[in-house]
Structure formats: structure tokens, C-alpha cells
Symmetry: C2
Subunit: 113 residues, 2 copies
């Protein structure tokens, strides 16, 4: 399996940007990894979660895909998922929004296109 970014699908993209510190970044990643493996990935409609670490230590980004906003909202209301989310939010301030992919761009006229 792999995560593909593509415009024009019905997938919901969730981007959650956590403001953290170099001291807390790894701890936050550990908490989000466990949350994803044990709770979010087992919910109906989950497609993928992709954790990113900023090189300056100040951000963690979760780029996640769900089949629909309804599936995502059902996860948010699941008590087990809630416990995991609250644990992450005690470590770092989240900024979560729901997105659609507008466009993808690549280098013009590459040899392989």
C-alpha cells in the first residue's frame, strides 16, 4: 500500500499541524503513532495517516485521508479515539482542518512524463 495525493477524488484529507518543541517532538510522535495504530486506523473509513517531523523540532504534521467527512466525524466521537486525541493535545497545540486536494504539479517536460 502507499499514500497517493490526487485531486478529484472523493477522499477527505485531514491536515493536523501540531505546534511543539524540540524537547517534546519525539514524545508527541510516539503518542500519535500509538493512537494511529491502536485506535484511528481501526475505524471504518480510515484510509491512511502519514506522520511528519519538522527538521527544526517545532512542528509535527499528520497528513491523513478518510473516505468521507462522516467517517472522520464518527472517529472524533468514538470514546477510545477521544482519549488518544486528548493525550496528544496535552503535549501540543493542534490545528486541524478538513481539506480537498485542488491540484498537483510536477516538473515540466520531464523525460519520464
Amino acid at each position: 500500500m502507499m499514500t497517493v495525493i490526487r485531486p478529484g477524488t472523493s477522499l477527505l484529507t485531514l491536515v493536523n499541524v501540531f505546534q511543539t518543541t524540540p524537547e517534546n517532538q519525539q514524545k508527541l510522535l510516539d503518542v500519535l503513532t500509538i493512537a494511529t495504530e491502536e485506535a484511528m486506523s481501526r475505524q471504518p473509513g480510515f484510509v491512511s495517516a502519514n506522520l511528519h517531523r519538522s527538521r527544526d523540532g517545532l512542528r509535527v504534521v499528520n497528513y491523513a485521508q478518510w473516505e468521507s467527512a462522516e467517517a472522520f466525524e464518527a472517529m472524533r466521537n468514538n470514546p477510545i479515539c477521544r482519549v488518544h486525541m486528548e493525550q496528544a493535545e496535552r503535549l501540543a497545540r493542534p490545528d486541524v482542518h478538513l481539506y480537498d486536494v485542488v491540484s498537483t504539479s510536477y516538473p515540466p517536460a520531464t523525460a519520464t512524463s
Copy 2:
């Protein structure tokens, strides 16, 4: 071509989160689309740019991939790219950081895995 998120590669991921308003969101997307097509995608080391629109109108995310931090920094110092970036930054506040992909997760034990 397609954009794939994968841990353990040497790619640099840039996530730029713009704070915008429902009134300015489309204008910002237009400016970023032109900037990507006319300037960024023509720079050495550019791999992909993927524009996202938040459903609440408050964010635009550019999820971009570069071959290296050096290639990204060279683009930032290119005067033509600078003009495009400044145009976007007059419309919305950016929050740009450089990332590595830590992990990708999928639903456990799916029929197709």
C-alpha cells in the same frame, strides 16, 4: 506522474500552511497555482507541489516535495520565485517548515493487503 508519501526516502517535504479567509481563499489558490506553474516547478530539484483547500475556507496547504534542502534554499533565493512568494504572503500568513516523513499507516489486515 503522481505524488507518493513514503518514509525513509531522501526527499525533503515542505508543508506551508496559509491562514486565510473564505473571501481570499480562491485568490490565494490562484496566486499559488501561477507561482507553482511559472516559477517553482521549473527550479532544479523540484519534485511536486500539491495544493489543498480547507472546507472551512480558513486554510490553504501546499504540500511540496524537493530533492534536498539545498534545492529548496536555492529556490528561495531565486529572485523570480521570491516575487511570487511575496505576492502570496501579501494575501495570507504562511507557516512553512521542512519535514521528513516518519511513518505511514493503513487499515490493519485489509482484504487487498
